[in-house]
Symmetry: C2
Subunit: 331 residues, 2 copies
DNA sequence: ATGAAAGCGCTAACAT
DNA sequence: ATGTTAGCGCTTTCAT
């Protein structure tokens, strides 16, 4: 039998109201009673029922986290920080994975809402019309734009421009770009940031499009690279690090040396980026800061949850997968 | 204002009991009323409050998932499948990350229990004494042993023996092993499976110990490899794929060719294993099957949740990071 | 087959 | 400062 607040009250010889106040910590309970109650709680090993509390307070101490793919290291990192911060704030995390399926996304969010979470952190798949979810669950949209909502995210456009700058600065002129799925706003933002910057410098990149994963990067990379050296790009940027890693694999399979014959730059700076061979040049995201702001906004409805955009700068991390174009000639 | 079951009842001209029965789907409600109620539900966009339902039923439609590290691809994969299966069963997933900290683990589980989940899936850090959690939350322990519980897991011991067999069969005799943290049961099981098998073949491996991550694999790899060729192992097995990938990196830094001069075999078969260079030979885990059984056991208290062990076989996946020892000589 | 009513375990308003 | 009490929104007997 699970003990409840009534058992504690009876055992301690106080009213359940007093026990509740001790639980809430902030109320005015005399020191004597407080200690008595606390002792009884320990003695009976009483665990407050959050479900009952949630019903009464009309919201639970949970935040819903909706992400497309937990096996994507960037989202895993985000989830990790969100969970840690939430836990420290006494919140639980309800995890939903949409698997990049818009219908599942809608169903998942509807399902989450039934548990009356305090807040929702969602990385949406599509920028489609905002679901009209309940006013008392503040929603903060992260990483990808959802119309009608503020966006908390790294500055995809600016970050991609950083990548373009880096490549141009290295002397590359034949440049290709592996984009993410066209229906994802994040793909469009990164692509636009990269391509616009290149065009401004008079360079017209070859663009291919795929998913945000290793496999896609490898396949697309092969398509871009499997041709005569003078007809292929000397530098390729990708929409995320996983594509870049797949691309590295394709290059290796084709005997193309990185960075001597090909420069590669990714986006995200996942942990693996610094560990593969060659270490990947990429655009780093301030994930922990994003997580921190996301939880805060989900809790109090401020920031991005209040409709304001909150864009953080990405940072160029130069490693060994990019080099000046001249190296090719000297090789 | 959020609509509740009372609003629906009033609007449909029935009792709340009838609405509840329609919601439960399985009750005996006349077709006429049923349709009327369903229409009203749609009309008012009624979303049943799971918190109230949970209070009344004394448990919620949630399962708690407790894992050490979501950025570990194996756990990410596990979480992904658990979430997908749970969602299909109408359950939500409460995610807890223990970050390999025993104190956090205990606190997380206590916290989860306050939400009265139907079941708990936990990948424990330490084999320490079983927490006496509530009888009405069935707990299934996955991947790592917790005394007093059944274990649902790949057969770590047998899988590691497979790896040892593979290396021996390739003719290797100077073999090293990078183990996981000694306090993790999974480390001990894999290590024992590998080492015992080797000893039975008269081979005494050199063993080093570290964490289950890239960084540790790289550092330990360097320690093992940074010596004269005739004094170092011709094959190294690791306790997981991430260590193996770190090891590959160390080998590459030292100019040691894999698999020509060194064979490397991992454990887990994470997605990345088939994408790095060289593609990693490893022991594959039936993650999805584990997830399926974990959710089933968490729901009905059967299988591993009933105290029975449920060990699934791992499978040797041969790729390009292992080769016969003779190759070295011919090189 | 349907309605009425009693809680589930808590919080918060209202008394004292 | 502490006790009493009315619900939160459902599910589930128990009547009818």
């Amino acid at each position: 039998m699970v003990v409840n607040i009534k058992d504690v009250a009876r055992q301690a010889g106080v009213s359940i109201g007093t026990v509740s106040r001790v639980l809430a910590k902030n109320e005015t309970v005399g020191p004597a009673l407080r200690e008595k109650v606390e002792a009884t709680i320990r003695e009976l090993d009483f665990k407050p029922n959050h479900v009952a509390r949630g019903l009464r307070r009309r919201r639970t101490d949970m935040i819903g986290l909706v992400i497309p793919d937990i096996t994507n290291p960037f989202f895993a990192e985000l989830a990790k920080h969100v969970e840690a911060i939430a836990f420290r704030s006494g919140l639980s995390v309800l995890l939903s994975i949409t698997n990049d399926d818009p219908e599942i996304e809608v169903a998942q969010i509807e399902s989450l809402l039934k548990s009356r979470p305090t807040g929702l952190i969602v990385v949406p798949i599509q920028s489609g019309q905002s679901q009209g979810w309940k006013g008392d669950t503040s929603t903060v949209v992260v990483d990808r734009r959802l119309v009608g909502h503020g966006l908390l995210s790294v500055d995809h456009h600016g970050g991609a421009a950083l990548a373009a700058d880096h490549l141009i600065g290295l002397g590359h002129r034949r440049i290709a770009y592996i984009a993410g799925p066209a229906d994802a706003p994040v793909s469009r933002a990164r692509r636009a940031g990269f391509v616009d910057h290149l065009k401004a410098a008079g360079i017209e990149p070859e663009i291919v499009e795929g998913h945000f994963d290793y496999v896609s990067g490898e396949a697309l990379g092969r398509r871009l690279l499997d041709r005569a050296p003078e007809r292929r790009a000397t530098a390729i940027a990708t929409a995320n690090d996983q594509q870049a890693i797949g691309l590295l694999r394709a290059a290796d399979d084709l005997g193309i040396k990185v960075p001597d014959q090909l420069s590669v730059i990714g986006f995200d700076d996942i942990p693996l980026a610094s560990l593969i061979t060659p270490r990947l040049t990429t655009i780093g995201q301030p994930v922990e800061e994003i997580a921190k702001r996301a939880v805060a906004a989900a809790l109090d409805g401020s920031g991005a949850a209040a409709g304001k955009d909150d864009l953080l700068s990405g940072v160029l991390v130069v490693r060994n997968s990019t080099a000046a174009v001249g190296v090719e000639i000297s090789a």
